[in-house]
């Protein structure tokens, strides 16, 4: 089935641009959402980082995340503020996890790009979008708590809140992973990926 389609030109940059735009938009919309309880933010924008990771690899994911964090903070006026610091440290944790994961499991090859995601990822650890999302989400919150401890609060008591943070990010990790899966499923076979009949 794969050989029926020639990959004319992988449009990686185009997809990164689309995903980054979507991520920035989601980031802004999410900020405008009414509160969902203290210390809780769904992090829906990270869905697009996951999509980039599974379609194009961790470099693309890093691109989408950095564009989102920078553009989002400039638009919201939080650039270089403590909020920005938390945002960057969370993103750094998630990207580091993606980098480590990309060593043990390659998220997509030119041949498998237009397949449904699960076929492209079942090797190495065999984690799909949901598993990767949960891991990165947990790494995200752990790095944020570390940053809050090191740079802002300075008291190790902040770690006492960690289980609640971890639970929240576990939940959002699953939800975002499912959303990423649905997007990847829709993207499969799309001409955006450079797959042409």
């Amino acid at each position: 089935m794969n050989s029926a389609y020639a990959i004319v030109q992988p449009r990686g940059e185009l997809l990164i641009a689309y995903l980054a735009a979507a991520a920035v938009g989601t980031h802004l919309l999410e900020t405008a959402l009414p509160g969902m309880g203290p210390w809780f933010k769904p992090g829906l924008a990270n869905t697009f980082t996951l999509v980039a990771y599974f379609q194009l690899g961790w470099r693309a994911a890093a691109g989408v995340t950095l564009i989102r964090v920078l553009a989002g903070s400039i638009i919201l006026g939080t650039f270089l503020s403590p909020t920005f610091l938390m945002s960057v440290s969370g993103a750094a944790g998630a990207l580091l996890t993606l980098r480590l994961l990309s060593v043990v499991q390659k998220p997509g090859t030119p041949d498998s790009r237009h397949e449904i995601t699960r076929h492209a990822v079942v090797r190495g650890l065999g984690l799909g979008p949901v598993g990767v999302s949960v891991l990165t989400s947990l790494a995200h919150i752990v790095c944020q708590v570390l940053a809050a401890w090191l740079f802002i609060l300075g008291h190790a008591g902040v770690f006492l809140l960690l289980p609640w943070f971890l639970f929240g990010s576990w939940l959002t990790g699953i939800v975002n992973g499912l959303l990423a899966f649905l997007i990847l499923e829709r993207l499969a076979g799309s001409s955006l990926l450079g797959v042409q009949p």
């Binding site: 089935m1 029926a4 389609y5 509160g35 309880g37 203290p38 210390w39 403590p82 909020t83 938390m86 237009h114 397949e115 449904i116 699960r118 076929h119 990822v121 079942v122 650890l125 065999g126 984690l127 799909g128 979008p129 949901v130 598993g131 949960v134 891991l135 947990l138 809050a148 802002i152 609060l153 300075g154 008291h155 008591g157 902040v158 006492l160 809140l161 960690l162 289980p163 609640w164 971890l166 639970f167 576990w170 699953i174 992973g177 499912l178 899966f181 649905l182 499923e185 829709r186 499969a188 076979g189 799309s190 001409s191 797959v195 042409q196 009949p197």
Partner: protein, 165 residues
Amino acid sequence: MKPVTPLRWTQTGTTHHGAVMTSMERGGGEPLQGVHLLQRATTVADRWLILCTALLITGCASYLALRPAGQRAIVQRDNQTVRTLALDNNQQMHVEGRLGPVLIQVQDGRVRLLEYASPRMIGTRSGWIATAGSMVACVPCGILIRVEGGDSVPTRSDALDGITR
């Protein structure tokens, strides 16, 4: 050459082998049903990971739940202790934060933080805290309140000693 047909989640799903099947074959009915979606979207490794992380988090949470009630609240501004409040004494006071005054209320052995100018009001929404070791913080204001028990923050073995004694 065959044209590319985009897969739609409302109509189709895929098996492990990539075969396309309709929602009827999949069990039919409404698209996006939680269980179906979870089954379809996760690999075996994903499910194990979800389970293991859930157990780990539950373990951490129950570890912290063994803490006894606190006796006093320590108020810190930029890592400096500015006030120590006994929790058995109902009172309230203003402490100057980076964004202006912050109200700290002590009532019935609990303490809470009410901020006025914080962008997300996380400290206020955290509500009352009462157990030793718990804390509430307004990061933009630079204010942190933590509750302490006896002479020091009790460790888990202290708490277990208290139970078995």
